[in-house]
């Protein structure tokens, strides 16, 4: 009974989101995204747009990340999807391959790497909105106390130790003040962790795999378990948690994607490798001095994920002309200016990029590590029409690997099989 009531509520909520009739002869275009902070920037952008187009109203819908990819296909099947919505590379292929999206004409002013990510079957399917690369956030107090230089850290799984492990041990401190590896150190009573090794594909796993010379996919198929370099890189990451005890336990981080961010802003984590999408949260949460260093160097150098978010238009929109107008607007430097000027993200329109870098320069943060990571060798974000389903299928198995309940090689093999099986549909 109670579940029925819940479902009805959900349906009603869905209706109210999807509804929104046209007021005073205006055409309403809906725009959906998952990031509540960037949503503020879009509100500003669309306010400017509406001034220039008095006949169009743009409504911003916020759907949290946790439900985003569940709700989107259901809404598309029900015909209640937004006219324009954000998508990531893992998920857009399905919609592009099924003619659910309006193709877009390439504009030379857009970030090239993102344009490439969203080009499929010879056509571009979305307007680049923002992009991320990877760098190392660090707590200035903690690293200077431990005498660690975060810009020089390198790791090598073949060596008995390396600068990353040495630094992370020094930075990991238990309640008695002992550091990891010292006699009498108690892993159950850690107060400060050295590094955020965790089941975080974009910020940790794929960067370690890439920096070790491994890959994740071959074509659309997962091949990570077949590659010794990939297995070795993940073994190294898992060992940082369960053997070295310099990273928070997977029981804390597996199902709470914000845990490492929280630990970092609470001053309980010294080194935090992540993307520019955490800049605002770190800036607002951290009560200490922090800085950015280049991402960690592996045997194959610094090879990080560059990912981009695009806005795509639903082919089923009831007002294609107004939708085109809005899509064109968010492809201009003026359209994405609030995203850049507000310090939310690297914008997908190159001309707006300096405004973002300037915002953070004024805050005393140099974004060069992100720019360098994007300009260097990069690791391709997963692609394919069903790669999203494949990823969801392997996630629980990889989480077990991080918990230490299954061996790395064995777990990766199982995860690869489950992922490829799920991608068949």
């Amino acid at each position: 009974m109670r579940r029925t009531a819940l479902l009805i509520l959900l349906l009603l909520a869905g209706c109210s989101v999807a509804g929104g009739g046209d007021e005073e002869g205006k055409t309403t275009v809906t725009f959906r995204l998952w990031d509540d902070q960037v949503a503020t920037a879009y509100q500003q952008s669309f306010a400017a747009f509406e001034k220039a187009h008095p006949d169009i109203k743009v409504t911003v819908q916020l759907v949290p990340w946790a439900d985003y990819w569940t709700k989107l296909p259901a809404d598309i099947a029900a015909g209640t999807a937004a006219d324009i919505f954000w998508t990531n590379t893992s998920n857009f292929g399905l919609y592009a391959d099924n003619n659910q999206l309006l193709p877009v004409d390439v504009d030379s002013g857009w970030t090239k790497s993102v344009v490439e990510l969203y080009t499929r079957n010879g056509k571009l399917w979305g307007v680049p909105q923002l992009w991320d690369s990877i760098a190392l956030f660090y707590n200035k107090d903690l690293v200077s106390k431990a005498g660690v230089d975060p810009a020089t850290l390198a790791w090598d799984p073949a060596a008995p130790t390396d600068t990353l492990r040495a630094a992370a041990r020094k930075l990991t401190v238990d309640s008695a003040g002992k550091t990891a590896g010292q006699a009498g150190f108690t892993p159950q009573k850690i107060q400060t962790y050295g590094f955020n090794a965790a089941f975080d594909q974009q910020g940790i796993m794929w960067d370690f795999v890439g920096s070790n010379g491994g890959t994740w996919q071959s074509g659309d198929t997962f091949t990570f378990a077949d590659q010794p370099k990939t297995v070795q890189a993940l073994q190294y990451v898992v060992d940082l948690i369960n053997k070295e005890h310099v990273a928070p336990p997977a029981a804390d981080t597996n199902t709470n994607g914000d845990k490492t961010l929280q630990l970092f802003t609470q001053g309980k984590l010294a080194l935090f490798q992540s993307g520019p999408y955490q800049l605002k949260s770190v800036q607002e949460g951290a009560g200490f001095a922090w800085g950015l260093a280049p991402m960690l160097t592996g045997p194959a150098g610094r090879v990080g994920v560059v990912h981009g978010v695009a806005a795509v238009a639903s082919a089923k929109t009831a007002h294609p002309d107004a939708t085109r107008e809005v899509l064109n607007w968010i492809g201009t430097a003026d359209g994405v200016k609030p995203i850049a000027e507000g310090g939310y993200a690297f914008p997908g329109v190159t001309a707006a990029q300096p405004a973002f870098v300037d915002y953070w320069k004024k805050q005393g943060v140099d974004l060069q590590p992100f720019l360098d990571a994007a300009a260097g060798t990069t690791f391709p974000a997963p692609v394919g029409p069903r790669v999203g389903a494949g990823g969801t299928a392997y996630t629980p198995i990889l989480q077990q690997v991080f918990l230490g309940q299954v061996g790395v090689a064995e777990g990766l093999r199982k995860a690869q099989d489950a992922g490829n099986e799920a991608m068949k549909g």
């Binding site: 819940l6 569940t70 399905l94 659910q100 597996n254 199902t255 389903a389 629980p396 918990l403 309940q405």
Partner: protein, 289 residues
């Protein structure tokens, strides 16, 4: 129109609102699910007719069998404990001690709260590093990620949620037993335990049946608590069948297989309910005389 026909029309007119509700929200969805179970469909690409392939693939999938086993384990953990605790709470509240009205209200509070919200709160309480449970214990226990503890932890939260509801029914059952039976037993020299064992317990049988039947069906369909606390993890140890269906449909987007699993769950529940009913019909007395 003859009088008889007029009566029929009038009768159906009165029934119409309920018929619409049952038809639109119950029967129609059942038919739709039966239909979907014969297709391969991911919500976005066009659906393909596959006849009974989905049923074949679900029935030969060890994961489906495992999720049924997890569900059975969950029911076996929840039902005896919540029924016993609910009965004990009802007997104690029936003593009409001072403050028992308050206790009665507090006891049902978890049951009237949204299960999703409760699940989220309990996930915080069970958090291995910062959770209140481990703070109280002074010891780190990974409640929701340990393969051994995850299912009992979810079951414990479900029991805690349902005890008040079960107790309410037993209280009503106790109130329905005329006091002269207990009095007669006392006069014949029965102690409190014998009185309960020989008089109260047999007369509570209709209530017990109701509580077991509804409790069994609802814990067979548990979803919200699992969704909020463990998402079926670790390694499927808490993947109860309703969660497996949700996962199949809205995470993996295999609507046809999910529909086939729902139909199979429906068959299992019908079988269990019929078995329960025939067992209790033979052994239940509704009359007091």
């Amino acid at each position: 129109m003859s009088r008889r026909n007029r009566d029929t029309v009038a009768g159906y007119a009165f029934l119409a609102p309920s018929l619409l509700g049952v038809g639109g929200f119950l029967l129609l969805p059942v038919v739709v699910v039966l239909g979907i179970s014969l297709f391969r469909w991911d919500l976005v690409s066009p659906a393909h007719w596959t006849a009974l392939d989905n049923y074949r693939s679900v029935l030969t999938d060890p994961a489906f069998g495992r999720s049924l086993a997890v569900t059975a384990g969950f029911v076996l953990l929840v039902i005896p404990v919540q029924t016993a605790l609910g009965l004990a709470a009802a007997v104690l509240l029936d003593q009409r001690l001072p403050g028992s009205a308050w206790f009665r209200a507090i006891l049902v509070l978890p049951w009237i709260s949204a299960p999703l919200a409760l699940g989220v709160v309990w996930r915080w309480l069970f958090d291995p590093s910062d959770g209140a449970v481990n703070q109280l214990l002074g010891h780190r226990v990974e409640w929701l990620t340990s393969p051994v503890l995850a299912l009992p932890s979810v079951a414990a939260v479900t029991v805690w949620t349902n005890v008040g509801y079960v107790a309410l029914f037993f209280l009503a059952g106790l109130a329905g037993i005329p006091p002269q039976y207990a009095e007669a037993a006392r006069i014949d020299g029965a102690g409190p335990w014998q009185g309960f064992r020989r008089i109260t317990w047999p007369l509570l049988r209709p209530t017990t049946f109701f509580v077991l039947a509804t409790g069994g069906i609802s814990s067979f369909q548990v979803f919200d608590t699992v969704y909020a606390m463990t998402q079926g993890g670790p390694a499927g140890r808490t993947e109860v069948v309703a969660y497996a269906i949700y996962r199949e449909a809205f995470v993996e987007f295999r609507m046809g297989r999910a529909a086939a699993m729902s139909v199979l769950l429906f068959l299992v529940l019908i079988t269990v309910t019929i078995a329960q009913q025939s067992y209790f019909r033979r052994r239940t007395t509704y009359e007091m005389g």
